[in-house]
Amino acid sequence: MAFWIASSPHNHSQAKTSVLMRLVIYAALPGIFAQWYFFGWGNIIHILLAVTTVILCEFIVLSLRNKKNIRKQLFDGSAILTAILLGICLPAIAPWWISIIGAAFAIVVVKQLYGGLGHNPFNPAMAAYVMLLISFPIQMTSWQPPLALMTIDLDLANTLSVIFTDFTKEGYSVQQLRTSVDGFTMATPLDTLKTNTGLGLTVFESMESSIFGKNFAFGWEWVNIAFFIGGIVLIAKKAIAWQTPLSFLLSLFICSFIAYSISPDSSASTMFHWLTGGCMLGAFFILTDPVTGATSTKGRLIIGALAGLLVYLIRVFGGYPDGIAFAVLLCNMAAPLIDQYTRPRTYGHQVQEKREEAK
């Protein structure tokens, strides 16, 4: 009789793609809830729009490619997760076509043109976000301040009206929504800090602004903490590896700590860098993408550290206020090379140099 012989690994994880994807989606829920609590319905509407588009696009491309089992691939959750991550990243009051163009680009160009799930070199959600950011800079930077700071009441009906017609039911424009009581346009904390530092103000003077709140960044800090909690759950459930987020956060911490110790007037605190923008979302939900990230343990540590450094450099010296998406794309490019040089030693084999020494 013949034995069935297979190469290693011999012990396979029985978890299906859909189970893993569903777990990641559940873990993102606290963050989405925090976004809803501080910024209103906008992101949820964008998530719904993106999910619809993504399913439609995925179905069209899969049927064009004559794939069997379309139903299974369509609902394996990967496309839906992409849509949710994209919807979370978008400014809450961006127009409706932003999320539709972004979601279609993510699925058709970034994911399916490269060969579908498991073959895409770039993270679809982040590539779509970068595409939108460089294509529509005005719409993609009109961030809405937290609800508590707004002078105009933004309920569900008003948000829908802004997203689909650019105006609230009372006729306020997006620009008016962003105006504070004093008549200033309010931006995100990162954006404000960057502009003010450029104007020669110190960090402490900038922090006086109401959008920074009492701690670091009003609203944003709680959104980031919620994503952090979701990320911890993912690590506890072993859905993602702990190396990438840890080295990313450490790297960002070290960079901002060095800058803060040298010149506290012109650089923000370490916790500000951790708790603003898309830091926690990037660390736990995007950099840990099993397809586009590194796969070896050492490789993950290197990718995380590289991403942290890039995010800090882009935030402080770059042209954009937040750099998570750009850093992730650059790391995606570097991932195959990093994996190449950090291959773990196979059991029973020696490292090349040692073997030569032994001879």
């Binding site: 160009v109 595409m131 460089i134 294509s135 529509f136 800079p137 005005i138 719409q139």
Partner: protein
């Protein structure tokens, strides 16, 4: 496009049938004539479709991707490249017997550079607006691989007539790809076609401007270089899909040889 230049085959066939009665010299002449016509047809098909410099050879991608943000720019560069390609092919073919093999490349480059300078000065004089918007990519036609490639591969080995026809077809193929790419990017980017055509064609051309749809905000990706790469990829994929479709529809040549089992009854 290739249907335009198809030779009228029936007339040739008629003449060849008649030649039986006439002197054999004429028959040979007619056969040569037919062969030449076929050669021209082949050149046209090669330049416009099968061996298109932009889509198949992927030569001259630098100007192709850089200046195709609008149809007008694409048309300007396409015409300039076409003119240089025809002139350089004809000249190189005319002097092919006197060019030493060892230093042919510098000579080709010099000839091409001379024509590019002419075209550049002409555009500077008569279409200043387009001259400015093409910028560095107009003098850079000198380094366009499509031109030097045709000089090396075809013009330096063939007579003047064929060489200039080859230049015309290759140039047309290149210009067509430029225009298609420019049209896609212009429509996606700003929703117009032939915007600024008066810079190239004179003041009457202002009426050519078509507003396909109105965009409140430009789709910058289509105007920026990444959009050129993505659109180019889609055009190449579309061309390959058409080729695959044509190949599929052609009846398969049955090359199944009938095998006979030879039975030797004697043994």
């Amino acid at each position: 496009m290739s249907t335009k230049v198809e030779p009228e085959l029936p007339t040739i066939n008629d003449t060849t049938e008649l030649t039986d009665a006439i002197a054999p010299d004429d028959a040979a002449l007619d056969l040569a004539k037919q062969a030449r016509k076929n050669e021209y047809k082949e050149l046209a098909i090669q330049g416009l479709w099968k061996n298109n410099p932009g889509l198949v050879q992927l030569l001259g991608l630098c100007p192709l991707l850089a200046v195709t943000a609008t149809v007008t720019n694409a048309l300007g560069l396409g015409l300039a490249t076409l003119l240089v390609l025809v002139c350089s092919n004809a000249t190189i073919s005319a002097i092919r017997h006197w060019v030493p093999k060892e230093i042919r490349i510098p000579i080709f480059v010099l000839i091409i550079a001379a024509f590019v300078t002419c075209v550049q000065l002409l555009m500077n004089a008569y279409t200043y607006g387009i001259y400015q918007s093409l910028g560095i990519f107009l003098p850079l036609i000198v380094t366009n691989c499509a031109i030097i490639g045709r000089a090396e591969a075809y013009a330096s080995k063939n007579p003047i007539k064929q060489a200039s026809f080859d230049g015309l077809m290759m140039g047309l193929g290149f210009a067509l790809v430029l225009i298609v790419l420019g049209a896609i990017r212009e429509v996606l980017g700003q929703g117009t076609l032939f915007d600024g055509a008066n810079l190239l064609l004179g003041d009457w051309a202002t009426v050519l401007r078509i507003e396909v749809f109105h965009l409140d905000s430009q789709f910058l990706l289509a105007i920026l270089p990444p959009g050129a790469f993505i659109a180019m990829g889609f055009i190449i994929a579309f061309k390959n899909a058409i080729d695959a479709h044509i190949k599929k529809r052609q009846p398969k040549e049955s090359d199944k040889a009938i095998e006979r089992i030879r039975v030797n009854f004697d043994s």
